[in-house]
Symmetry: C2
């Protein structure tokens, strides 16, 4: 951790920062891979010991980030006229990380970590049992600590408590900016959803009829990943209960889960995670130990997964290319005729149907799930509602936005997501910000390279990948999100591209 | 890492030690799982970054172990009359760990770690290429640093340099004690091997004729592990180039490799690693964060793997039980009649044939491979020979001990093992000490419970496991090896039981 003073004496304060953050990156590497292992292949009996290990690493890392000298080094580096733009951006990101870490006390960090660990672990079984009564007290503790966290962060920044949390995931966004965007989306979607539903009523689709063997689905996923550009020298595909993208940029671990009756759910999941992985694998390899070398934000990360899943792959062009591959892996002569046709698979993959579960939602209904959560989080952090109110409020909003009831069904209502159980308030909006950015980026790329859809239909992904690499991946955190979006698309992030995308795809507008 | 002074003020120095070593255990957990991942499933492109991560963890751990206050706490704990025997043993083990770590300088630890990492990585390809010329300079650096390490350790302890290294793996053993044992073994084996070879000439065996599908071999291995008592709630079986037992006691990761033409090699490997795993899984769960809770030594660990592989499983009783299971997984009607009979499988698994490769050696020839390495290590550390002499000396000793030549074949000669490439001198003797302990323990267990072989023939392993749990696993490091062996078998470790075992099994004596 510490270098000999001899070494340090020859270094500028900026160099000391780079050196120190290189060590921190190595610790983050350990946390990432151990976290992946925990969620994929660790036997159950390893649980308690692994948690203790991860807590220890977290304590060591926090101690390294809050090392008092770092604040002086940052102050000095900010005055250092010899730094180039990359180094300046690195200092900005380091400064942000230090501020974010210092905003909350060690005691709160520890208390929240323990409460979240307990609550998340309990959530796994209590959700399955639809047991709100026993989950509520655990969630209350997490929400109380999250509120304290938000207040501590707010007191350092002058932001509102909810803004302070949003900023952790999507720097630059605020409750106000998100409200503006989300109200635009809600105003569009509330009348749009019934129109699409009515229109799709008259379309006939052949439902998938399995079984589709897991081994065949896995091979299909691996082949599609290869085509899209996943780098298997720097990553793997495995299985987990909840699909995710983990690991480190030189070793990106994506996961999926298989349903023998529905191969599209796993396949689209694999493509989604391949989008996340492409961002990580596409970050400049020489930068990855420094904060400036990290992916820009949670929302920008989601933009890459949704660009590959929603923009590239839930398209007619993609099914023109991929259908023969799906037929090769999954087809047999007992299946209904045309079930595995490009037309039917496209229709299935763009079917709209309001449902209770966010992660199963189609791209039209999805934002309503997010808006609901955003409104509830805002009210929780403004202390206008309490944890006890959640089941009722959730039900009311589901009724209002998607016409569905969750009365007595908290499992599929306010208990369905893992996020609150581990205190990640302020995270949900980034899913829809990501969907918006995905549409905006894809439309800009296609405007510049109109042949992209034709290439996708031939299984060629190099033009879209090169454009993304240049505009997003290789930029890492050099710029803030607004500047990044303006440089790539000419405009800051906005909802209009996403709305246009939905109109084109779902209403032939 | 540090506790608030408030917490520490309420603790005795002994309690501070326990607390500190609990943190160190969590770091070791991270190192173990990341090391396992590195050797099993990590994609190649993750290599450099992972090495940096492991180096960082090593630096942090060394810093935690060399924290200056610890020496004072140990001194104080040694005077603490309130400690019980378990705590006293813990202090003894902590003291030993501190001494061992302090014996070498930070600079040497770092230099050796870097040289070993470079040499081990190069060894993988250079060995395959039989490229001694390019490997020798790398090995020279490692051996020079190992010599420096041995000298630094010797200067602190008054031991000879080689003794100082041996003590790292098998506390209590010395060059003299091992020489005495090994000369006894050599004197027995040199005339014994030709007798066994001559005897086996007249036995007809049906060689294995594959292919044996990997998937079937895997299922066979898993079923046998289950029978023997591997706890899958606290462990896994995976694949690696070199089989090993890694992970942590609550999550033991064993590996194997598959040869489609020879299922016995993988199966016996799986049983061997299950022996290691049984020790780790059998350690007292409440002790595992403390040094007294660790397995006793490298040799004792090997005794458990060899007890399960050589004593339990390369026996007629075992094949009586396991042959139907092997037939179920691997049998088909294209195979030669009786190939998968208990009699033939037992004969194959006890076939003696001098060969160049240690890891493929039968249990009769194996000690000669170890004696050869022991003699060479001793000469290297006494500076009687240099790295340049290795190919020639290796060849001469192979000629003398097993009648085989390695001239021009360093790949299967002095380059065959990974150990020297990463500077593990003093390790090899523990393999044969383990074989001796395995025979001694198994004979003692069978003397106490003469029904053990009959039980094995029925697939019942609880009596032998309970005996081992009581006498070895649950003892962890409470006693030194001699006391442990005396308590379990009535005698300190000696070669006579192993010699008797070989005579009984291979010469019907």
């Amino acid at each position: 951790m510490e270098k000999g003073s001899g070494t340090y004496n020859c270094m500028t304060d900026y160099q000391k920062l780079e050196d120190h953050f290189r060590s921190i990156a190595h610790l983050s590497h350990a946390e990432s891979i151990l976290g992946w292992d925990h969620s994929t292949i660790m036997p159950n009996g390893g649980q308690q010991d692994r948690s203790a290990c991860l807590t220890e690493l977290g304590v060591i890392k926090r101690k390294m980030i809050t090392k008092p000298e770092l604040l002086d080094w940052v102050d000095s580096a900010k005055q250092d006229a010899s730094l180039n733009n990359w180094q300046k951006a690195n200092v900005r990101e380091i400064d942000r990380l230090l501020q974010t870490t210092h905003q909350i006390t060690d005691d709160l960090a520890k208390a929240k970590s323990q409460a979240c660990s307990k609550s998340e672990f309990a959530w796994r079984s209590l959700r399955a049992e639809n047991n709100w009564k026993d989950f509520a007290p655990l969630l209350k503790e997490v929400i109380a600590l999250s509120l304290e966290e938000a207040q501590q962060r707010a007191s350092h920044t002058g932001r509102s408590p909810y803004d302070a949390l949003i900023d952790l995931y999507e720097p630059g966004q605020t409750t106000t900016s998100i409200e503006k965007t989300f109200s635009q989306l809600r105003d569009f979607l509330q009348p749009f959803i019934p129109v699409v539903l009515e229109k799709q009523k008259s379309q006939s689709v052949i439902p998938l009829q399995g079984p589709f063997a897991v081994e065949h689905q896995k091979n299909l996923g691996l082949e599609i990943m290869q085509h899209i550009g996943f780098d298997f020298n720097h990553g793997r595909l495995d299985v987990s209960h909840h699909p995710f993208c983990g690991g480190v940029p030189t070793d990106v671990r994506i996961t999926t889960r298989y349903d023998e009756n529905d191969f599209q759910s796993s396949l689209m999941g694999v493509i989604h995670e391949t989008g996340h992985a492409s961002y990580e694998q596409g970050l400049p390899k020489d930068w990855i130990t420094q904060p400036v070398g990290h992916a820009r934000s949670t929302g920008m990360h989601e933009s890459q997964s949704l660009l590959f899943e929603m923009q590239v792959s839930r398209s007619k062009a993609f099914f023109d290319f991929a259908t023969p591959i799906m037929q090769k892996h999954l087809g047999n002569n007992t299946q209904p005729a045309n079930m595995l046709s490009a037309e039917n698979l496209y229709a299935l993959s763009t079917r709209v149907e309001p449902g209770l579960i966010r992660v199963d939602a189609d791209e039209v209904c999805y934002p309503m799930h997010i808006i609901l959560r955003f409104e509830i989080e805002k009210a929780l952090l403004a202390q206008e509602i309490t944890v006890d109110d959640l089941p009722e409020i959730w039900h009311e909003k589901m009724q209002a936005y998607l016409g569905l009831s969750t009365l007595g069904n908290d499992k599929d209502g306010c208990m369905q997501d893992i996020h609150w159980s581990y205190g990640a308030l302020g995270y949900f909006p980034t899913y829809t910000l990501g969907a918006m950015a995905a549409a905006q980026l894809f439309q800009s790329a296609c405007k510049k390279h109109p042949n992209i859809p034709d290439e996708i239909a031939k299984g060629q992904f190099s033009t879209i990948r090169t454009w993304l690499a240049h505009n997003i991946w290789l930029q890492a955190s050099l710029q803030n999100t607004d500047d990044l979006m303006i440089a790539a698309t000419g405009k800051p992030l906005q909802a209009s591209f996403f709305i246009e995308h939905l109109q084109t795809r779902y209403n032939g507008a």
